[in-house]
Each structure stands twice: as structure tokens, then as C-alpha cells.
Subunit: 277 residues, 4 copies
Amino acid sequence: MESQNKHTWKTKLHEIIYEADTPAGKLFDVILLIVIIASIVLVMLESVDSIDKNYHNILISSEWIITILFSLEYIARVITVKKPIKYITSFYGIIDLLSTIPMYLSFFFVSSGSFVAFRALRLLRVFRILKLTRYIGASTQFVRALKTSRAKIAVFLSFVIILCIILGTVMYLVESEKGSGFTSIPRSVYWAIVTLTTVGYGDIAPATPLGQFIASIIMIMGYGIIAVPTGIVSSEMTKANRDNVPTNTQSCLNCLASNHRDDSQFCHKCGHELHHD
Amino acid sequence: MESQNKHTWKTKLHEIIYEADTPAGKLFDVILLIVIIASIVLVMLESVDSIDKNYHNILISSEWIITILFSLEYIARVITVKKPIKYITSFYGIIDLLSTIPMYLSFFFVSSGSFVAFRALRLLRVFRILKLTRYIGASTQFVRALKTSRAKIAVFLSFVIILCIILGTVMYLVESEKGSGFTSIPRSVYWAIVTLTTVGYGDIAPATPLGQFIASIIMIMGYGIIAVPTGIVSSEMTKANRDNVPTNTQSCLNCLASNHRDDSQFCHKCGHELHHD
Amino acid sequence: MESQNKHTWKTKLHEIIYEADTPAGKLFDVILLIVIIASIVLVMLESVDSIDKNYHNILISSEWIITILFSLEYIARVITVKKPIKYITSFYGIIDLLSTIPMYLSFFFVSSGSFVAFRALRLLRVFRILKLTRYIGASTQFVRALKTSRAKIAVFLSFVIILCIILGTVMYLVESEKGSGFTSIPRSVYWAIVTLTTVGYGDIAPATPLGQFIASIIMIMGYGIIAVPTGIVSSEMTKANRDNVPTNTQSCLNCLASNHRDDSQFCHKCGHELHHD
Amino acid sequence: MESQNKHTWKTKLHEIIYEADTPAGKLFDVILLIVIIASIVLVMLESVDSIDKNYHNILISSEWIITILFSLEYIARVITVKKPIKYITSFYGIIDLLSTIPMYLSFFFVSSGSFVAFRALRLLRVFRILKLTRYIGASTQFVRALKTSRAKIAVFLSFVIILCIILGTVMYLVESEKGSGFTSIPRSVYWAIVTLTTVGYGDIAPATPLGQFIASIIMIMGYGIIAVPTGIVSSEMTKANRDNVPTNTQSCLNCLASNHRDDSQFCHKCGHELHHD
């Protein structure tokens, strides 16, 4: 009877933590989202010297509170899930663990400058936000569109990289001895990427007329090339949208006309009744 | 009889101010648009030191003329509208009031440097231009397209922000001790946003080869990712365009079902014959 | 008989100059295109000090040759056209005249520094290239797509300008006293446009954390907003493409099925013969 | 018999080198791809002074190994192909030869600074990657979409170039005497391209209010104009997607007409009944 009771308690907690169709489950997700965002803001603020000096104690205290909250959540997840090993070894399980460890380790070791990389592990929690977005319907279509055009975008990006290598080398040959920043091929390729993607920092810029002429061609190419990934995704999404239009594959028994609206009860061609399943 | 006359006068003024289907109403809107743009240009010119020094009196006089014009318009709107309280507490009512107040207050208080923020309230009139665009048919479709893709664009932008936080942190870890401007995580995230959106100021730029390599990846990602919001809006607008084509506004004489396909000869709801013109 | 002969000669010249469906006419257009491009390159090279010093005489001689060629072309156009007044007062007639005058005037007046603006009139010939593109079929569809989406793009650009005025003013209030370049509202609006359009010069860049935060929002907005004009043009062109699909409006006499392929001789629904005009 | 054996051996090698439908052929292509990428990375690293100083011998040794591998591949291709002359004079044959020669020449001549341009010939191998992408299906559609919109994109880019020449000249007239970098028309046209394509280096930026006003207009134009190539490619790809859907590959038994609509029951050419599966 006690086991039964415990089981019920565990089931309820599981429902709250892992599902989102009860008010408690939704509330849990919203609170989790807020705590994650708060923890990310905290890590970011800690890295700002002026803030860290003035509010060091407040930041550390808040950090401990959040770390304990995440630890409790981690324990709750391990207890309530049916296959704890599977959760612990899963992507999100590892992230949940990794994001709590740095704080506990800082308890034993004195924090040093190079320790910051390790502390940044806490930022991995940001991936949890991605997981929470599964409840937003729009993201499904978004992810599907990305998946469908994945292969084409990969080909496109390979093409862009090859183009940047060629153009970067040409610019290196033209500008390398003019002291305008094109000191090596990798640096020139970096510049070609900065230019073709229309980012344009300006830390490296061509100084010779020939270099500026080639740069102009690269820019205009970049301006035209950007149309390609956009065209790919647009046509993919238009296609996905069209496939969703509420017509069915049923054909009229009388005149064989097909492509009826999903809510049709009679054939739009001959007026004969349609048979639905 | 006088009340009757007054009522007619108020109705006419209401027609001129609030509607745009009479020549007088259209003229009023065009004049209003010109005065709003003039007032915005005035506020902008006042903030330029060299212009303000040389033409201070002309600017202040023009400002008073425009403020009085707007005050008269405000009073006219309050008088002619049927429910004055509703107008006064509405978004445009508050803007209309807020944009006249600063000038009157400057009459009582001596203008100081920090007063400029308050005076900038007059720029709120720019929202009035948005209101006037309701007469342009194209803006309706524009707003509808934005509304439809709102959810998807929000998801997309959240994804971009999360990506920028991750990439900014990585760059902070790589470049923070190289003195190239990546002094804190928020600053690095700011840089990641500047780069991913292809803005590329160049005030912060990676100095290490590894940093430039990661930056190149971010740029190429940004170049590919920009296709997604474009694809969303394109497919949404293509869909809106297509949905507008093949249905007509006819309703069935038998069951009143509407939204029939243009080539339907029989109602898709009850099978009754449709009469075409 | 001489008049007859002269008339034939004029008709032939007219055919060569104004039409492009004879080999001579095509050759004339190609030569004209090359001469125009040569003249543009000349004007551009003249403005480069180092080139102008070393090759001044060659540049001036070439310029005279081209000016005489254009003058001959102008005279030929005036003579051969049926209504000379209409051509002289037309857009291209004025351009043709304006682009030859500066050189003749330089014969009478000694060239001075401020004279350069006048000489730049010769660059107006660039518009002639636009006229020559009428022979390229692709440009027709291009211009039509631009015309169709003109109203929507105008509304969109007005929206962008209003947004930039608001955002520029906000940045002016935040950054004006930090010495980071936001010295006046017009300058801040200029910066907002540079940022929202993802150009990002870097001559003005926010220095305060709050300014950088607002700048980040502007950039992400700009990244999302760019989808709108693209969506408008894409859907407009997709629609134009769809309307072009080779189906006709004919309906079958037997079964009333419509939307037949343009090359159909028999109804695709019932096999009845279709009657073409 | 020996000739027979040799022939078999050559056929097998031919299959491995030129085809990709056997496991050995696929393996060959993957290894080739890796070696090409390694050789490109090598050339890029050699151009970095600090790396070249410390690891000069390792780089040169690796370069020799790769050059010998490519030479062996070149010889194998010449031996196994049926028409060696055709391969040697083909685009890829010339690239394969050119990319091995520089290393052998460096054996005879002492490497000098200006020799670097010649050594960069080895980077031509990057084109081989493009050839290997023929196995990826996505690239076919990608190339076809580019080909279809080629003419329109050319017209668009010509329009952009003409626009940049006009705008660059205007900026030259406005800014040339203000010492803000607009020293000649070609330089101003270069700046106009940098701005219109939203690259925005910031090495040249307008200093006068009028210049900044014109620059703002250019930027907003660039922001709106970028929609055009995108719209062209999007609609082209959407069309390609749509045209692929509703026709089938069946041909009429009576008149052999093909490309029927998927819902056709009778041939649209001769009215003969179509047999569906």
C-alpha cells in the first residue's frame, strides 16, 4: 500500500516534469524556462568585470540558488523516469548534469582565470530552451522546412566555400604585397567570406584599384547568390503549404472527378453524393 | 434649430477629420501628413547643433505654429467625436496629446540639456503617419502577411538569439585574452548578433586564426539562415495569393454554403445546382 | 526621283538606328553599346588623378572622338525620325543632347575644378544602356514584377523609414552624451538606417551596454524585416508565372470541363473534340 | 592472352577511377576528395609566415607526397581512358596537369616571392571538388535553377551596376572635396557597390549631411532591391517544383503523345482513351 502510494506520487511528478498537458505541467515548464533564462543572464553578467566587482556576492548567491534548483530537478527527473540510465546517458541528461557540476567543483577548487571556460558549461542550459519550444506548433514546420532543404543548403554552402577559397587566393595574389591586410591565403579567404556574405567588417579592405574591382565583383556576386538559399527554402515551404491544402484523393463514383475539398459531401462536377470513410 | 445647425456643423467636421471619402476629407489627410512630416523634420533639425545655433528663432517659431495647429486638431477631434472619453484614452488620442504638451511646458520651464528626452515626445507624431496609411490598400495585405507569419518569425528569432548566445560564449572563450574587444560574454553575444545578421560594424573583430575560423562559420550560417524568414513570408504570401483565386463569393440557394470553387456546378455541401451569371 | 532616292536612304537609316530586327540594326546597337560603355569608362578614368596626369592627351582625344560619334548619331536620329520635335523633347533625346554638350563647352571655357559636375553629365549616357536592354526578353518580366509590387514596396519602405526615425531618436537619447558619434537625431537616424539595412559601416557604433542592447534588437529586426520585400516580390512573381501556364479558358461543349492545356484538341475529361478559334 | 589480361586490368582501373557505382569506385572518390582538401589546406598554411617558418620541412614533405599521388592519378587517368588526347585537352585534364607542375618546377628553380602566384596554381584542384559533387542529387536541381534564372539575374545585375555608376558619380560630386575618401569616380562607384550590396566596410563613409542622406537612400534601395533576385529564383524554383507534379510519363497508345495531366482519361491530342494501372 505504501509502494502503491509512492508509485502514485512518482507518476504525478513524472506527469508534471515530462508532460505539458496539465496545468501543473505547463506551470513547471514556464518556471523552468524563466530559471534557465535567469541562469544564462547570470553567467553573462559574471563575465562583465565592472558588474562582477560590485555585485560579486549577489551573483554568487543567485548562482548557488539556481544550481540547487537544477540539481533538485535533475534528481527528480532521475527518480521519476522509468529508465534512469537512458535519461542519464541522453543528450539532455548529460546537459542537465554538466550544467550543475561547475558550481560544485568551484567549491573545492579556487576559481582561476582559465576556470572560466569550465564555468561556461552552465550556458549549455540554453539547449533546454530549444527542447521547451516543442510545444510551439510553428517550430515543427520550421524544423521540417530546414530538414527538407538540408541537402540543398549543404551543397549551396560547399559551393560558397569553394568560391571563397578561389576568390581569397586571387585577392592574396593581387594585394599581398600592398600592406592592406591580405598577409596570407587563410586570411584572404576569411576576407572573401566576410565580403561575399555581405558582413563587411572593414578590418581588411582592398587598397589597390584592381583589388577594389575584384572586391566589387565579389560583392555583386554575393548580392545575387544570396537569392539561391532563399529560393530553395521558399519553394520548399510553398510546396509544403500546397500539399497541406484541404483536398482529398477521393474520386466521384459517378464522374470520376477527383481533387475534392475535404469538407465536400457532393461532387462539385456532377452533384453525385460522395462516400466518406 | 440652432442646436440642429450646430449638429450639422459638427457632423461635417467629423466627416472631414475622421473620414477620407470626401474631397475635403482627403485634403485634410494630405495637409495633416505634410504638417506631421514638417514637425518631425523640425525636431530632427533642432538636435543638430550648427543648425540650432543659426536658425534658433525660425525653428522655435515654426514649432509653435505646428504645436498650435496640432492643438486645434486635437480640440476639433475631441469636440466632433461621439465618445470623447474613448478617443482621449485611445492610443492615438494619447499620442496626439503627448505631442503637443512638451512645447507648452517649455513655456513655463527653462529648457535644459536633459529636457531633450521630453521634447522628443513630439516625434511620437510619426505614428500618425502609420494611421494615415490605412487608406493605401497595399498596407492591408502587408500587415496581414506579417500577422500570419508572426508566430513562425518569433520562433525563428528565438532560435537566432539562442544561437548568438552560444556562438558569443564560444568566441569569448577563444578571444577574451587576446585584447581584440571580446571583453565579456554580453559583448561577445553583441558581436555574434552583429556578425550573424551580416551587419558587421568592425568595432569588434576576431584577431586569432581560430577566432576568424569560427567567425567565418558564423557568417556562412548567417548567410544561409537568412533564407528561413524569407521562405516563411514568401510561402505565406504565395498561399494568400493562391487562396484568393479559385473560389467565388456565391452562396448556395438551398443551404447557403459559400466559398465554392469557381468551376463548381453543384454545391459541395448539399448537392443543389448552383446558378452562374 | 532624287527625293524618292533620298527617302529610301532615310528609311534605311531609320531602320538601322531605331529597329533591331535587321543584321545592320543589330550591329548598330552592339556598336552603340560598346561606344557608350567606352565613354563611361573614359569619364571615370578622367576623375582618377594619377591616370589623368599621365594619359591626359589620350583621354581627351578619345573623348573628342566619342563626342563626335554621339553628335553624328544625334544628327542622324533627328534627320531620320518622322517627328523630330517629339524625339528632341523626349527623355532620350534630351539625354543624347546633354551628353554631347559638355565637351563642346569645354572648348570655349577653360576647365576648372567645379566644372567637373557639368562634365559628369556625359555619364547620363548610361541611361541609353537601359534603353538597349529592351531587346532582352528577361527584362520585360523583371520590370513588370517591379511595377506590380511597386505599391507594396513603397508601403514597406515608408514603414522602414518611420521605424528608423523612432529607433534613431531612441538611440540619440541613450547615447548622445557618451561621445560615440550620436551627436544629433538626423545622424542617429542615419545610423539606424545603416544598421537596419545590415550595411553596418562602423563609423558610428554604440558604446554603452544599453545602446548595444538596443542595436542588437534593431539588427535582429532588420534581419527579420528583410524577408518582407522578398516575400512580396517572390509571391508576385510566382503568381505571374502561374498565370502564364499554358492553359486556356475554353470549356468542353460536352462536359463543360475547363482549364484545358493550350495544345489540347480533345477534352481530357470526356474525350469530346474541342473547337479552337 | 597477356594483352587480354592487361585489358581487363585497365578496364577495372577505369571503372574505379571514372565511375562511382562500385565500392572501390566510391572509395577512390572519397580518398580523392580527402587528398584534394588536404592539398588545399597545405597551400593555405604555407602562405602563413609563422606556420611556414616552424613547419617548413613537414609542409614541403607533405606537398611532395600529395604531388606524387596526383601525378600517379594523372598517369592512371591517361592510361585507362579510351581517348587520352580528349582527356588531356579537357578542362579537368588541364587542371590535373597544372596542379602537379608547380612542385616539379620548384625542384629546378629556387623559390622566390613572386613565384607564389605560380604555386597557387595548385589551388585549381578545388575545381575537382565541384566535379565530385555530381554524385549529390541536390546539386542537379541547384544548377538547373541557376541556369533557368541566369538571363534574369544577368539583367538584374546589369541594372545594379548601372545604378551604382549613377549613384557613385552623384556621391563623387557631393563629397569629393570634403576629404572623406571619395577621391575619384571609380572609387565612389566602388563605395556605391559596397553600400548597395549591404556589405558596408566603412573604409569610405560619407561625412557631409547631404552625403549621408543620399547614402541612406542608397541603403534603403539596396534593402528593397535585394528582393528582386530572390523573387526571381524563388518563383523559378516554385515553378520547377509545380511542373513536376501533375503530369505523368504515360504516352498515348494511339498517337504516342506524352506529358498528360495526371487526371486525364483521354489523350489530349487524339481523344483516344488512356489506360491507367
